[in-house]
């Protein structure tokens, strides 16, 4: 049965999923605004198959009014197919560029069984974008998906990223949110067979007035699966607001589940605010491990003093500390080129926020 957007009421802000979101800044995406804008999606040549296919025959379940409206609006899907038993290779690079106005989009990534690949989505440009990404990781496959939000300052991005992890499959996502006026990403994970492993990493920098919201939900319905979530954010300036919600549900038959979620936020100045809510719902006690951690702190003055006492100017010291703060999450991406690219984006954003500047001796 297809769910239509009319089944999701227009949010008022009192609903749990919307209570942190500045609805007035969503340009009607949460209501009934028309999709009259445009988003361009293109990609580099690749050995994997990338094509535009009709929505017919694609199964996708929206999670809220925005994702269902986007799904109802799109007429085609950009589908990436990683061929069966592909043994890694260059990453598949897709660019999503907002060209202005309210627009929708849908990207589908299918990693066929026993394949291995990295897919990088880079979002840039302007406008309001309701974009869904749905991912299927086939049995025994290994897939890394990087989603970079490098939007212009006035852009709006509401998205639903869903992944279904197959038997003994491995999925790793890295969400890097640096730009945009409002970015709200809902990431949901479920498992279609036992032994699946999902690792969801996130790095975000929030500047003055920016609203950055990451909501994650891992639903364990299969035995012996793992979910690991680590999101780290740094916030600077008046009205900088981040929201991180980490929900994990372990259903009765998901024995042997191993789950851990972590969110750490670094507040760099007055007037910034980070909301962080981890949630764990266990319906069985027969699990391997379950835990969560959430903490929000300020710059450690002793760290800055130590670096400065070695001659390092304040602006360089700050960038070192912030980069260091992100380092353990970035290093989990597991690909030196990707890690360098992520750090490069972070550095550029730190510099544009006036928080620091790179000395010539600092290399990744």
């Amino acid at each position: 049965m297809t769910i239509t957007h009319t089944e999701f009421a227009v949010p008022t802000g009192r609903e749990e999923p919307w209570r942190f979101t500045p609805l007035a800044r969503l340009r009607g995406l949460e209501g009934d605004s028309e999709f009259t804008g445009q988003v361009g999606i293109d990609w580099d040549p690749t050995d994997c198959r990338v094509e535009r296919v009709s929505c017919d025959g694609v199964r996708y379940e929206p999670v809220d009014r925005v994702s269902s409206r986007a799904w109802a609006d799109v007429s085609e899907v950009v589908q990436v197919t990683i061929p069966r038993e592909r043994a890694g290779g260059p990453s598949v690079n897709l660019r999503v560029k907002g060209l202005g106005g309210v627009a929708s989009g849908h990207i589908r990534i299918v990693a066929e069984p026993f394949s291995s690949a990295t897919v990088v989505l880079t979002h840039t440009g302007a406008g309001a974008f309701a974009g869904n990404v749905d991912v299927e990781v086939g049995d025994g496959a290994s897939l890394t998906v990087v989603s970079q939000q490098l939007w212009d300052a006035d852009a709006l991005h509401l998205g639903h990223h869903h992944v279904s992890v197959g038997r003994d499959a491995r999925y790793r996502s890295a969400v890097v949110t640096l730009g945009g006026d409002v970015v709200r990403l809902v990431s949901t994970v479920d498992y279609s067979g036992p032994g699946g492993d999902a690792e969801m990493l996130g790095v975000f920098l929030v500047g003055p007035g920016q609203h950055v919201e990451h909501r994650l939900l891992a639903t364990h319905t299969q035995p012996h699966c793992r979910s690991y979530v680590a999101y780290k954010g740094a916030l600077d300036g008046e009205g900088a607001h981040s929201v991180w919600i980490g929900d994990v549900i372990v259903r009765p038959n998901a024995i042997g589940t191993d789950t851990y979620e972590l969110n750490r936020n670094l507040i760099l100045s007055e007037g910034a605010r980070a909301d962080s809510v981890p949630n764990l719902e266990l319906e069985t006690g027969e699990i391997t491990g379950a835990g969560h951690a959430s903490a929000t702190g300020r710059f450690d003055d002793d760290q800055l003093f130590y670096l400065q006492s070695r001659g390092i100017p304040m602006d360089v010291a700050r960038i070192l500390v912030v980069r260091g703060f992100f380092a353990d999450v970035v290093q989990r991406v597991g690909d030196p080129d990707l890690e360098a690219a992520v750090l490069f984006s972070v550095d550029a954003r730190l510099e544009s926020l006036g928080l620091g500047r790179l000395g010539e001796a600092i290399e990744s």
């Binding site: 400065q308 006492s309 070695r310 260091g324 001796a361 600092i362």
Partner: protein, 255 residues
Amino acid sequence: MTELDIRDLRVSIDTDGGEREILRGVNLTIKGNETHAVMGPNGSGKSTLAYVIAGHPKYRVTSGSITLDGADLLALSVDARARAGVFLAMQYPVEVPGVSVSNFLRTSVTAIRGEAPKLRTWTKDVKEAMNELSMDPSFAERNVNEGFSGGEKKRHEILQMELLNPAIAVLDETDSGLDVDALKVVSDGVNRFRARGDKGVLLITHYTRILKYVRPDFVHVFFDGEIVESGGPELADVLESEGYERYVNKAANLS
């Protein structure tokens, strides 16, 4: 010749119970080629002196001056003081997660010298300095002070001193928490540094044992925020046998 001059230095700190004076008029002149040991019981303010020279924002200088070769050090930011030639080896070096030792060292030496070091000679210099301090090369890839043992932290401080090559090195209880072997390694580092010439060293310590390996030219007894006695290395021997008892008793008798 290098000269660090501390004149009538008075320093306060804000506490919950109001302002508290920690340094009550310190006078000390350290020239290049001189090693001064400042000794005193816990809480005497000797570590505060070290942090004030380096410029820690927690302390407020209420009067007096600190000059390096005539230039007003108190007017400079923490990093500018380091670039002017002051180095502080800390008693409790700070962990900086996610920043590798090699990145940290290269960044600081670049800041101090005003230009990036030539990669080939730099790598060689670091390797040699680490080798002399019996540090494993893998050390360079670890995060700054993260998970370091007490001895590793102190070696790392001395490594920085040797690479950054300051005019004045302030060593705050660098000997504390070291076993005899590590103490010798660290002392050898200090002696190599002194042998470069025109280097002033301010050695702050509670115990006399490091003074067996790093022979001071002057010894000062620090008590209740000021220097109460100064002398040559023989003063350290007196302190070794008598401890700080007589200063403590004297203060008790006065009050």
